[in-house]
Amino acid sequence: MHSETNAARVSRRTMLKTLAGAGAGSVLGAPMIWAQSLKDVTLMHVGPSYSIFEDIAAAASADLGFKVEMQNAWTDAIMARVVSQPDTIDIADLEFWAMQRIWRSQKLQAIDTAKITNWDKIIPLFREGRNFDGSDMSRQGTMPFEVQFAEGEGFASAPNGRATMMPTIFNADTLGIRPDLIGRDVTSWAELLNPEFKGKVALINVPQIGIMDAAMAIEARGDLTYIDKGNMTRDEIDATIAILIKAKQDGQFRAFWSSFDESVNFMASGEAVIQSMWSPAVTAVRGRGIDCVYKGLKEGYRGWGNGLGLMSHLEGIKLEAAYEYLNWMLTGPYGAFVARQGYYSSVPETTKASLSAEEWDYWYGGKPAAVEIKDPFGTVMEQPGRSRDGGSFEDRIGAIRCWNTTMDEGEYLVQRWNDFVAS
């Protein structure tokens, strides 16, 4: 992957030499200044904790020759900043559903997909809204493709070369369990509400996501069938919250977590044995030598995807730099980094080249680890012979049944969620 960027730079240099050789003074001036000041560009990439890594910023800066800085903030805080302080961000790293909220603010500019070298290598899920085998994917919630292409203040229903964001990382989320404390197989989301685990269940305290995890469980148990778990009606929200309040009053929940480290500690300390979880949190618990499994369940997964958006104020040389950075992000090192905490890259091909064959087989292939598998920070998180749950990349992504989202009745949902928490 490095060779690719190097090749691009060499070709630019070669081009300049060629132009100089030709004595084309008037043409020569412009690219010289351009090449000169590209070094002075600083790009501010603001993203969530699971996507922002100093190592990646340093590697990008070294490879690209200009400075990339990263800042960490929650998705909601980034959305607010994009809208109200757009000048403080150059590259916005957001979940796709955020487009539903903020694209119309016109603070982001459409990305010309022709300028993204690896665009055609991005998996079809993002580019065409289709599964690997060409079948349709669930559209419950915000499937990234629905907001992938821009048309004015709204979204195009078919690819048009103008992307709202460039897809980077994504995953299929499920429940984390402590197999050693449960002592039997867990195969359904319904277990989240199983009284057997009374007082040992935790949920994520983010209304939009917590309610979908609960809805997966409620639907699995057969209490309710939703038209769209990702865009509930008021009646559906009320029915869901009623079931949750009942469960809470019966003592089903041990806690609701609001931060990454809380979710790790709940699981590691045994306060919870089954809970909503993120893949890196599972990796972190495993890294402490505690058995924790990100369990693939028969009802499928809750999916999400992140992308990089270009702020509207980027222009001229800074915009060119931003495109170079976007291209760099799909060349492999970033994809390999996030793969080691269980996430997938939108361009698996380049990620594969940056991972060892054993790592690729473990993380993407779903095969038993051939060697010790390490997390991005070098801690051993898997012993040889064990495999990640849920199978291969294609199996896990293909089984996504709903997507992280923002609901039309979002404000009502937050109100009812507060009601649930206060009950």
């Binding site: 929650w74 909601d76 959305m79 607010a80 809208v83 109200s84 909220r101 903020i102 119309r104 603010s105 007082g199 935790a202 305290n205 983010v206 209304p207 939009q208 809470k248 929940f253 041990r254 806690a255 609701f256 977590w257 609001s258 809380e262 500690n265 709940f266 300390s269 045994g270 306060e271 923002t406 979002g410 404000e411 937050v414 109100q415 009812r416 969620w417 507060n418 009601d419 928490v421 206060a422 009950s423």
Partner: protein, 284 residues
């Protein structure tokens, strides 16, 4: 420079800080609570919709009730503790150096951060925490006590741990000012210990009690972090509900709730100040 000008000048820095960093943001919050919001941006069009939504929701009353309940319980416990500790320090410890030494001892926990003092309860109280393991090893219980952590108990315990000093300091200060001769005179006149406490010490400590009350009540009413962490997110206060709204970019309801909370807290403080003339007492 006239003394008047001097005093004006000396309050200038604080006035500036208060105006710029408290006054203006507060004014913004009040303004925003009356503005229209389209889910993305504010428009300066007057609306009462935000307040209508807040007032009409039973959740608002539930979480205000819950917040006041936390404040009342914490207040009662910290008051008893604060009063008892101050009473002991002032009237039982005769040696001034020892008195100051013991008082400083009370502040030692404050040498670490609030967050650390709070978080450190978690491994202690947890299901497999020190306390439960200890009790089980002593054979006192068979099952770990679940109510210890992620419960109202844990929240109140932490509040008491964090805020008792705010009660001790003003009460200690007020008690230390009580003239010992008054108590001697009462004793000579045949008053019982309880009579002295009720008719002399409590009335003369009331400034301290009032100030301590203001500290503790406003701290509890404005908290969301302790309740979120120690209740394991299972309990809600006004500010934690506001935080949920803010996190989802639904600012107007949060602003309206903030205004309501400020009104309630101001009301409480005003009542306390009406009952006890803190200014006059402090000037003594």
């Amino acid at each position: 420079m006239t003394p008047n000008r001097m005093s004006q000048l000396s309050v200038l820095p604080f006035t500036t800080i208060l105006t710029v960093f408290t006054g203006l943001p507060l004014l913004m919050v009040v303004l925003l609570s009356f503005w229209t919001f389209d889910g993305l941006e504010y428009r300066p069009e007057f609306t009462l919709a935000n307040f209508a939504a807040v007032f009409s929701s039973p959740v608002t009353w539930k979480i205000f009730g819950n917040t006041l309940r936390y404040a009342a319980i914490t207040w009662a416990i910290t008051l008893v503790l604060g009063f008892a500790v101050s009473f002991y320090l002032v009237f039982h410890v005769r040696n001034l150096k020892l008195q100051i030494g013991l008082f400083l001892l009370c502040t030692i926990p404050f040498w670490t951060s609030t967050v650390i003092r709070m978080i450190s309860w978690i491994p202690f109280l947890g299901r497999e925490g020190l306390f439960n393991t200890g009790l089980m090893q002593l054979g006192l219980i068979d099952q770990p006590l679940e109510f210890l952590l992620f419960s109202d108990f844990a929240v109140i315990l932490t509040y008491v741990n964090l805020f008792t000093l705010f009660m001790i300091v003003p009460i200690f200060n007020a008690m230390a000012k009580i003239d010992k001769n008054v108590i001697e005179a009462a004793l000579d006149a045949g008053a019982t210990g309880f009579q002295i406490l009720r008719t002399i010490i409590i009335p003369l400590s009331r400034t301290g009690i009032a100030l301590g009350t203001i500290f503790v009540v406003t701290l509890v009413m404005g908290d969301f972090f302790v309740v979120r962490v120690m209740s394991g997110g299972q309990s809600s206060t006004v500010v934690s509900a506001m935080k949920n709204n803010i996190d989802q970019m639904y600012y107007p309801q949060a602003a309206a709730m903030a205004v309501l909370l400020i009104a309630v807290v101001l009301g409480m403080v005003a009542t306390i100040l009406r009952v006890v003339d803190v200014r006059a007492e402090l000037a003594k």
